[in-house]
Amino acid sequence: MRYAVGLGVLATLMVVAILLAGTGSDGGSGTATDPGKRTAEQGRRQSPGSAALLAGAAGSLPDSTRPAFDVGRTQLLDRRKVRARFASVSRRVTALARPRKGAAPVATVPAKTEEGTTNVVLVLGEKTRRGVAWVHVRLPVLPNGRTGWVPRSALGGYGFVRTRLIVDRARLSATLLVDGRPVFRAPVGIGTPAAPTPPGEFYVRLKLAGFDDPFYGPVAFGTNARSAVLTDWPGGGYIGIHGTNAPGLIPGRISHGCVRMRNKDILALSRLLPIGTPLTIR
């Protein structure tokens, strides 16, 4: 209702303004009471009224330029998607048992892995104590499953993944989930009873390719899981997920602890599995 009244008043004012402009009364020279006495010269000198300017100018303006982009609908983040967080280690740091200076050391975490890649840790939580931000992380150390607190300043940027890899030792299979839904499944070879694949919660921390060693197949992923038996293995006895030159042994309990896949499966997995993916071995 108020809008209607407002529009009515505005329209009336505009009509009055246009009528006044049409008679040449814009506050300039000449008298409003006797416009007929003004000379032609006076009429040429005066500027047009505001309303006339607005009415006339609109027709002479060029067409508006269309913006160069064409974008789709704005999308809000989907809160239902399950995400895990990881971070690179930017400097060598000692992980502590609690989020405070002086707490018991748990392990030293280097900035590089044994394979020369940037070390990453899975982030489990955060706390700020006395102005210092601490991050609770899963560690690549023995015994498996160990966690610790490191200062936020020792880590790089966060990365997020929607994936989770599950290795089932009873079923001898690996399943990759995206947002909780399985998108990939393949039979696997796991450790022998003498060198078992360790159970627990881990994460994928590096990817190797382009090497010439048929034993590991075309692609190998490194995890933070370690063999509890082969502790003197070169490189620290880390558990990998890789291809094989003996596909006939898969599925089976045939490895030194690593998770082996047929080469076509590891290649398919390598297109789906981002670094930082949580790994459950059960």
Binding site: T74, D213, P234, H242
Partner: protein, 242 residues
């Protein structure tokens, strides 16, 4: 528009503020009718209104023709904008995912983050093969600290609006100017809304000064938010247990 207390306010008030700030007065009726019974449904509806009115409804154009008309100068300016939009979208997306900021700030971030991601898509689409790759970011804890987050968000939005103001007269192609202005007004609204949300003056003076690209580059470098990408893959023989 009701004043928002920076200490005490409901999500409905915040969203109402965002609606007020983000869209034309003509659409306030829509906002008023968007108050449903449940908070979730309300947020969905009011945010959807903003999304559609604020971005989706405005950007119509022929990207292919515009791309052909772009000069090297236009491309250089737009590539810088893309880096800035990458930075902002990553900043807000991380803050929303971590969920450590206050609920009212998070509600604001949810909307603005969606806008910034949309800006990234628009600029990438416009630049095509000339688009710069997304850099790596390390926000050094700022996205999980309320006070630091607010300061940074205010700075980002103020500075982005100031940069676009500096760039606008420097573009050669008119469709690019038109596109940049659609970004500029939204960034200015973001700046005003975050300032208003935390009790600052939405506009501090009658005229805004532009900020040059060089000044912006210097400020971004000082934050150390843009970092090198971690090398998590290598061509190297494994030494796993096998």
């Amino acid at each position: 528009m009701s004043r928002i207390d920076t200490q005490e306010c409901t999500l409905e008030q915040i969203a109402a503020t965002l609606v007020d700030v983000d869209i034309d007065g003509a659409l306030q009726e829509t906002a008023a009718s968007a108050f449903p019974g449940t908070r979730a449904a309300f947020m969905r509806r009011s945010l959807g209104t903003i999304a559609t009115a604020g971005v989706g409804g405005l950007f119509v154009g022929d990207a292919v023709a515009a791309r052909k008309a772009m000069t090297r100068n236009d491309i250089a300016l737009l590539r810088f904008d893309l880096v800035l939009e990458y930075l902002q979208s990553a900043f807000y997306t991380e803050a929303e995912r971590l969920g450590k900021i206050s609920p009212k700030t998070r509600a604001w971030v949810r909307v603005v983050g969606a806008h910034e991601r949309s800006h990234v898509r628009a600029l990438k689409g416009l630049l095509g093969a000339k688009a710069v790759a997304r850099p790596a970011f390390n926000f050094r804890g700022v996205t999980s600290n309320q006070a630091s987050f607010i300061k940074t968000a205010v700075a980002f939005e103020d500075l982005t609006a100031a940069l676009l103001k500096w760039q606008a007269p420097r573009f050669d192609s008119r469709p690019i100017v038109a596109a940049a202005l659609t970004l500029h007004s939204v960034e200015a609204r973001h700046a005003a809304s975050i300032r208003y949300l935390v009790g600052l003056k939405p506009a501090t003076s009658a005229f805004d000064a532009p900020r040059s690209q060089r000044q912006m580059a210097r400020l971004i470098a000082r934050t150390r938010f843009v970092t090198s990408r971690p090398q998590v893959a290598r061509n190297e023989r494994p030494r796993f247990t096998g």
